[in-house]
Amino acid sequence: MVAETPVTASASNARVQTEPTPPFVEVQDLSIHYGGKKILSGVSFDIYENEIFGIIGPANSGKTSFLRALNRMDMFTPGMNVTGTIKIDGHDIQRWKNVYALRRRIGVVFPLPVGLPLSVYDNVALAPRLAGIKRRSELDIIVERCLTRAALWEEVKDRLDSLGSLLSGGQQQRLTIARALSQDPDLLLLDEFSIAVDPVTTMRIEDVLKELKHEITIVLVTNLVQQTRRLSDRTAFLLSGELVEVGETAELFEGKVRDQRTLGYLEGRFG
């Protein structure tokens, strides 16, 4: 399944700094307020194509809020106010004429699984159908491919007609991942995807993510420091709405940090 991915040696070895293409996501001076309360204060960083970008930080640091700003979920969160600019693929997302087209490019996986009360098949076929694909054979291929990538196909291939909301929590989370992949996104946002998933399945999904990054840019928010170490090329550390630092994951874990607070958090000496 994954072998079809066109992986060139140069792509997998490419260092993000020497990447000649402009960053895929540019965040400039981004602030988020709820009501009058500041949640994120003026953060700036870039996310490059084909990397897994980790975001870590204790609860309340604004990680989820940042993801919501990225696919313009602030539009239906009353009181949420976003300032600064986010450019995706070179375009300011605030200026996007059709916000639905923007969201179709961005897959999102929420921390708690949301199996829609549709059949397993319809859950995964929903995004393609929204995009206008009607032919059953085409949908069949997409559904099988996405469920396989989300490491769920073997478990559900005989019960595609049963309700997605009746699967186990961990299965529903993988269904959510399959659904996010079904829209064939350029950008995949994962918000603590593994809190409802067992360790073995988590590892399988992590392997899938490592393959996927060759075609999709991935933003991984996680509370598991070791997960960001295993997966992400670069990692940003957020603390109470401030960006403490962004760096190569490997270097951060070697202790090459600019801010001692990062080291403290990575080593678990942080409350």
Binding site: F76, R105, G107, L116, P117, L118
Partner: protein, 314 residues
């Protein structure tokens, strides 16, 4: 391990052991359970009692006098005829069905539309105001609706369509539709509200437009409640008496157009029961109509239940 902690643990254990007796909360719990059980059971008993009563009053008649074939297929309802009374209920069944049918045609799209607007589009103040207005509408007594049918709709229909009489299927159907709509709207809106926001967000994150979210996710998720809302409306239409009596023209007729006057099952019972001698054939024939209404309502509810179950299983 510190001995102090152990002492504390031991005394706590002693105390907890002593707590294993039936205390006040235990008895309150049992009492409440019993009360609720009595409440629930008595509801069921009442329904069975009503059914037994109606059946008892009508049964002898069904067994002895009534020709079931005539009852269901003849439109001649002449229970007061001296030499040859006939008990054909077809015209009454047709009256009730046509009025209810038209009412549903009017009110289902209206109510579902209103529920979707209130539940999914309207925000804040508008939404609250609309909800209060709809609930107010639901509280209008049916005799007032009948009055509106009689004194406003009647002349309006006569003038607009140039027909001799405005008390007909059209009038009573519209009135009944307006009557049923607020309740259906309220129940349908509750059904939509019961759909968790996480479903909406999940669909929105996939790039679904507002309408796609409603059509693809919210409506399927709220299907059971929506079906229930519609069926409640049907039940309301079937059982409504006063407004139909006033607005339908109350004349025995197999309607061929919406401008024909008709007579409903319920209205027949209401209008005639007071004038019959208890135990007479006419009296018992009216109870047979009651049985028919009861059975139809039961079948509607049962169908609804099966439909909803079918949806759930899938």
């Amino acid at each position: 391990m510190e001995p102090q902690t152990t002492d504390r643990a031991r005394s706590r254990r002693e105390r907890r052991r002593g707590e294993d007796r039936r205390d006040r909360n235990w008895y309150i719990d049992k009492a409440v359970q019993a009360l609720v059980f009595i409440g629930g059971i008595s509801g069921i008993l009442f329904i069975i009692g009503i059914f037994v009563f109606i059946t008892k009053e009508g049964y002898g008649f069904i067994a002895e006098t009534l020709d079931i074939g005539e009852f269901l297929t003849s439109p001649r309802w002449r229970p007061t005829s001296d030499h040859n009374p006939t008990y054909g209920a077809l015209a009454l069944i047709a009256g009730t069905t046509s009025v209810t049918g038209l009412a549903m045609l009017v009110s289902v799209p209206f109510s579902l539309g209103a529920a979707i607007y209130i539940g999914e589009f309207a925000k804040g103040r508008t939404r609250e105001t609309l909800k209060i207005l709809v609930e107010l509408l639901a509280a209008i007594p049916s005799v007032v609706w009948g009055f509106i049918g009689l004194s406003i709709m009647n002349p309006l229909i006569i003038k607009t369509f140039n027909v001799p009489i405005g008390l007909n299927v059209l009038n009573s159907g519209l009135i009944l539709g307006l009557m049923a709509a607020p309740i259906m709207t309220t129940i349908a809106e509750d059904a939509l509200k019961a759909v968790p926001d996480t479903y909406r967000e999940a669909a929105e994150a996939l790039g679904a437009t507002k309408w796609q979210v409603i059509y693809r996710v919210v409506l399927p998720a709220g299907k059971n409640g929506l079906v229930a809302a519609v069926l409640l409306g049907v039940g309301r239409g079937f059982g409504e008496t006063m407004a139909v009596l006033m607005a339908s023209g109350h004349s025995i007729n197999l309607p061929t157009s919406v401008f024909d006057s008709v007579r409903a099952l319920t209205a027949t019972i209401a209008a005639e029961l007071g004038e019959t001698a208890v135990g007479s054939d006419h009296y018992r024939a009216l109870f047979t109509l009651g049985i028919l209404l009861f059975v139809v309502t039961f079948v509607i509810n049962l169908t609804a239940d099966l439909v909803v179950r079918g949806i759930r299983k899938k």
